[in-house]
């Protein structure tokens, strides 16, 4: 009997059962996608299959690799013989899954030595490491580099080489591309697929993103609240989902919806028209920012009219967040001018008032003070704008939160609810410009859609201008009227959302759009 057989009877945590019974098999050389949102139990499932569940968690069941049975509740000593040889786990974030103080070569070499069970001569090791690097399309000199000297995509390749150096029968990839830029995601997934096929190795690909697995896995398993709700061949599930949850996931997936008509496209075709006659609320001209010798912004122009949503897209390191921070006064620009409502603003925070602009950050888990109640957070923000503290219920209602949220602390709220609080806090001083810096990137796709709807509604109701920074073209497409594409501190392309994203004229934009669509075969079955 060959291949992988998994029969999990259940995973229990300190707070009770976390994952119900689930069973699946993966043939050698085949791949299975496990799809679910955060909290669905997919990461626990992955960790239970390498015996690395966090403290307080326990799994019952058995993993069979080519007929060899490995009970999931085995001791750590027993798991050590299984990990690496039979199963290897690739983690989400290549920025943390490699040791920052060791060069890449040794990190791959450790896996090689662990498999050999003895120390290997240095020459032999160097050759083997170079071979493993070549497999993931990296030059041999990467072995001498420290992880921080490599890009995110290259780091994940090193992590893949390290995970595969023990030649496991099953590779579990836990959200392997979530931390990467769009243009790297497709490459990494295709590389994983190719390696898996070449080696006849089984792969379990864990993702929250249905669009990502299209064409890259044979089968798919959809999980929700610790239970499997749907399973089948990937193409079949994507084209004719049976369960309502799967349908909701597909509908909420911004990538799969990238081709869908936008509501206002149907009405006015170009939302730019609606605000074309209004003077810009804020305009930045020739903004330059350097950190040491590195020029992060090299003469960037941007203007936003009241009631307009301007999307700024670019990959990490493009300078888009620095631009937002210069406009907000959190960084001091080295050159150029920023004019708000006709008056120039000096660099820095002192020249700005809370009523001019507010910012909503990426991570609602760290941007709210965990020791304060939601009511106290909002009262403080209302006070900054000179408003009365009894307006807290009205602020909660504005962002669609129940009135009893005021007595809670951030830890008692979900990620989406926290981001609503962050938005309410930003709106409390009645700003005329709202800056959203990757404000939905940390949220699940369904919650993302809700927050985007909320921002759109607030724009209409309050007539505020929104600067929307994101690396995710599909998200920007949902909300922005015009789009500015930033690359290495320059504006590459600027225009209406439909024009830039549907008929990009610059090569870099085309690359971004292609990566966001993750063009693969079978693209047309949905949408």
């Amino acid at each position: 009997m060959t291949g992988i057989e998994v029969a999990i009877d259940g995973i229990d945590g300190p707070a009770g059962p976390m994952v119900a019974a689930v069973a699946f098999g993966i043939e050698p050389g085949a791949s299975l996608a496990l799809i679910g949102e955060s909290g669905s139990g997919k990461t626990l499932t992955a960790k239970s299959l390498v015996g690395l569940l966090p403290g307080g968690f326990g799994a019952r069941g058995v993993l069979r690799v080519d007929g060899r049975a490995h009970p999931l509740d085995a001791t750590d000593a027993a798991w050590r013989r299984v990990r690496g040889r039979e199963v290897s786990l690739l983690l989400q974030d290549p920025f943390t899954s490699l040791s920052p103080v060791h060069r890449c070569g040794p990190q791959i070499a450790w896996t090689l030595e662990a498999k050999a069970g003895r120390r290997l001569p240095k020459r032999e090791l160097d050759l083997a490491v170079a071979k493993r690097l070549a497999e993931v399309n990296l030059p041999a000199r990467v072995a001498r580099a420290y992880p921080h000297e490599l890009s995110g995509g290259m780091r994940q390749r090193v992590a893949i080489a390290a995970a595969l150096a023990s030649d496991p029968r099953l590779l579990i990839a836990d959200e392997p591309t979530t931390a990467l830029d769009a243009s790297n995601q497709a490459e990494i997934l295709d590389l994983l697929r190719q390696l898996q096929l070449e080696r006849g190795m089984a792969m379990l690909l864990i993702s929250h993103d249905l669009g990502l697995v299209r064409g890259r896995t044979d089968d798919v398993l959809v999980m929700r609240h610790g239970e499997v709700v749907e399973r089948g061949a990937t193409a079949t599930v994507l084209s004719s989902p049976e369960h309502a949850y799967t349908r909701a996931l597909i509908a909420a997936d911004p990538v799969l919806a990238l081709d869908a008509e936008r509501p206002d496209d149907a009405l006015g075709n170009d939302a730019d028209l609606g605000v074309a006659g209004r003077a810009p609320l804020i305009s930045a001209t020739g903004v330059v920012k350097r950190f040491g010798l590195r020029t992060v912004l090299d003469g960037v122009d941007l203007s936003i009219a009241p009631g307009q949503v301007v999307g700024v897209v670019g990959e990490s390191g493009s300078g888009k967040s620095t631009l937002a921070r210069c406009i907000a006064g959190l960084e001091r620009e080295d050159g150029g001018s920023i004019v708000f409502d006709g008056r120039p603003l000096a660099p820095g925070r002192r020249s700005r008032t809370p009523e001019q602009m507010q910012i909503v950050f990426q991570d609602p888990y760290s941007s709210l003070n965990p020791m304060m109640t939601i009511g106290a957070i909002l009262r403080e923000a209302l006070g900054v704008g000179g408003r009365r503290p009894d307006e807290v219920p009205a602020m909660l209602e504005l962002v669609g939160l129940p009135a009893d949220a005021a007595a809670k602390r951030p830890a008692q709220l979900s990620g989406g609810q926290r981001q609503r609080v962050a938005i309410a806090r930003a709106l409390a001083p009645r700003p005329r410009l709202l800056i959203c810096d990757e404000s939905v990137s940390a949220l699940d796709v369904q919650v993302q859609a809700q927050i985007l709807d909320l921002l759109g509604r607030l724009r209409d109701e309050l007539d505020i201008a929104i600067l929307f920074i994101s690396h995710d073209l599909a998200v920007v497409r949902r909300i922005a009227d015009t789009v500015t594409v930033v690359w290495q501190g320059h504006v590459v392309e600027h225009g209406s959302c439909a024009q830039v994203l549907d008929q990009p004229s610059e090569d870099y934009t085309k690359l971004l759009v292609a990566a966001a669509r993750r063009d693969t075969t079978g693209r047309t079955t949905v949408a």
Binding site: R80, G84, L89, S97, S99, A114, Y146, A165
Partner: protein
């Protein structure tokens, strides 16, 4: 970078010398009376002493005279010992250095392995024992630990000598064991805590999970985590060296060791200004050097900081 640092250190030493100089003058006691002791204080003798040590000059002049001497390499005469300050310090420096070095080595040799084991089996017997020992080591005053060790290991069980510095390298080492252990108790407790905390955090990091998930043996994984934890441990431990400077005064007094700590104590009591000034500056200089070494160690241990330093 380095030039700024040297200038900054020089400025700190200058300000410190003024503060110490003024404080010693403000403190109660009279050098003349101390020098004369029980002998009758005839006006002539008093005048002669005041004349010899320029005690009638205005304070700024006294300070500038001292400063001029230091700048030309002359740290003055010790009134109490009647030798040059440089000789007085040089004669005792070796013992104090040996004591501090031994104490530091013991603290590291015990604290780091114990901290690692405590973190690896957090909540286990060793961890709880280590935490208890750590609390005792941290909270017990140095002189109390010293007296206790003296009673147990020099009086009831006469294994170690009660006082003195010994003759010859081996005998000195033998004499230094108890004082070093005394000093190392508090130090080792902090090293243990530092190591345990840093290791716990590193063992929880993604790269450790990732290493375990690809079958890398536990011993290698632990070394990997320790190498990462070394950054906070080394920077923390080097700051602890400065703690030794204060502790050595207490330990040397308890064990009657002729080191710099007892020299400093006696000189302060005697108002032997030149010695106190020179010792204060020496201590400040050593602390500045340690801080510099800690920063260099940081550069050596963390390639990320190294690259930033190279770019800036």
């Amino acid at each position: 970078m380095l030039a700024v640092r040297v200038l900054g250190t020089a400025a700190i030493l200058f300000v410190l010398s003024i503060i110490v100089f003024s404080m010693l003058h403000l403190a109660p006691g009279d050098l003349v009376k101390t020098l004369l002791g029980t002998r009758p204080a005839s006006p002539e003798a008093v005048a002669a002493i005041r004349e010899q040590y320029h005690l009638d000059d205005p304070l700024p002049v006294q300070y500038l005279r001292w400063l001029g001497g230091v700048l030309s390499g002359d740290f003055g005469e010790s009134i109490r010992l009647q030798t040059s300050v440089s000789d007085a310090i040089a004669a005792r420096l070796g013992l104090t250095l040996a004591l501090c070095g031994l104490a530091f080595a013991i603290a590291l040799a015990v604290g780091i392995p114990l901290g690692v084991q405590s973190a690896v089996r957090a909540g286990g017997v060793l961890d709880r024992a280590g935490t208890t020992l750590g609390v005792i080591g941290l909270s017990a005053p140095t002189f109390a630990v010293g007296l206790l060790l003296l009673y147990v290991f020099a009086y009831y069980l006469p294994i170690f000598p009660v006082y003195g510095g010994g003759r010859g390298p081996l005998d000195t080492l033998y004499h230094l064991v108890l004082p070093a252990v005394t000093l190392a108790a508090g130090l080792g407790a902090i090293v243990l805590k530092l190591t345990r905390t840093a290791m716990l955090r590193e063992l929880d990091a993604d790269y450790v999970t990732s290493a375990r998930a690809r079958g890398i043996p536990e011993s290698r994984t632990r070394r990997l985590a320790l190498r990462n934890a070394a950054i906070p441990i080394v920077t923390g431990a080097s700051l602890l060296l400065t703690f030794l400077v204060g502790g050595t005064v207490l330990a040397e007094t308890t064990y009657a060791l002729p080191g710099l700590g007892t020299l400093l104590q006696d000189s302060v009591l005697f108002k032997d200004l030149a010695v106190v000034q020179a010792l204060t500056l020496l201590v400040a200089l050593v602390i500045a050097m340690i801080a510099l070494l800690a920063d260099l160690a940081y550069l050596m241990l963390d390639p990320r900081v190294r690259d930033q330093g190279g770019a800036a």
